[in-house]
Symmetry: C2
Subunit: 199 residues, 2 copies
């Protein structure tokens, strides 16, 4: 038995999700993967839905840590590192498996308001981070004054969502998307007069 | 009994998919919705997988008809009509239901190569159509010579995929995405010298 039975249950739930898919998943599957009993799961989480809500909370914490740790000396560099990070065609099977699980949960979201609320948080958080970077870049003069951080952040978030979805569904690389988005940023967002002066 | 039992079965399969979701769907559910027997489904389609492959073929035909019927006197107008069509936040419940079904099938695609092949066709077809419009616009001088139709078409396809996915998952409107993409096209793709001369 682990020191943290709740953590063991969540790890087991994730493994069970990868193995069986969301729709077919039973509490027994989770118990088997977590090497515990259904009673113990009920004791810690009340229901299967609460297990998934807690699992999504854990994913969300990991996601915000990842986004917050993006480095760069200027807003432009931060934006570039963030896009590289999110659009990397990850050859890491664990990362692909994670995206797969997330897509499956997304497909269930319209039927499940708890999942929907949790999943919406990911996009909202990303969009807010992008808005902050864009606003900082406008302030510093690196990005054009005329751009609207809200709508550009929404467009970038949407394209990232599309790239990650397509990558999982069709197994296509997202590398070219990163290149095309970088060109978009260069031509559309950067204040090229400022850049020329800065250079 | 309808004149076309196979069509009746496909219509029933679609209704069953909307009602039960993909993962839990049994041949019996399809038979019940199509008002037929499991034996009749086997006679026409061999297996549940073949029913879904035929259903996706039907969706694909409808999708290509829709894309091919996009109107516009110039490539720019055609591109705009196409984006409007695909990014419209459809209040039509039937259209939303269709996107929901498609997302659920997408989530299953990584586990099912037949679904994956069929779903990849949608994005490939859209990307090819966009490439043709972009190439025609470059030829006519309406779009900038320097743009690469392949990567721009891929970016647009990805963003449309993202917008449609997000719309279903979070119920967010895609109207603003259309506006931001139109601005992108105006600033990034149009040959503004040519436009000025043309005006």
């Amino acid at each position: 038995m682990a020191d943290e039975p709740a953590t063991e249950i969540l790890d087991g739930a994730y493994r069970a999700l990868c193995r069986h898919g969301y729709a077919n998943l039973t509490l027994q599957d989770i118990a088997a993967e977590a090497d515990t009993s259904k009673a113990s799961i009920y004791y810690h989480f009340d229901s299967k839905h609460r297990v998934f809500a807690a699992l999504l909370d854990k994913f969300f914490d990991r996601f915000t840590d990842r986004i917050n740790s993006v480095e760069g000396d200027t807003p432009r560099e931060q934006l570039d590192t963030l896009l590289q990070e999110l659009l990397a065609t990850d050859t890491d099977p664990a990362q692909r498996e994670f995206r797969l699980v997330l897509l499956e949960l997304k497909a269930q979201a319209p039927y499940n308001s708890v999942l929907q609320e949790h999943l919406t948080e990911f996009d909202e958080f990303l969009s807010e981070q992008l808005q902050e970077i864009l606003a900082a870049g406008i302030n510093s003069g690196e990005f054009e004054e005329t751009i609207d951080p809200v709508s550009v952040a929404e467009l970038l978030t949407t394209t990232i969502c599309g790239a990650q979805t397509c990558h999982v569904v069709t197994n296509h690389s997202t590398d070219r998307i990163y290149t095309t988005m970088s060109r978009y940023i260069e031509r559309q967002l950067l204040d090229n007069d400022h850049t020329q002066i800065a250079l």
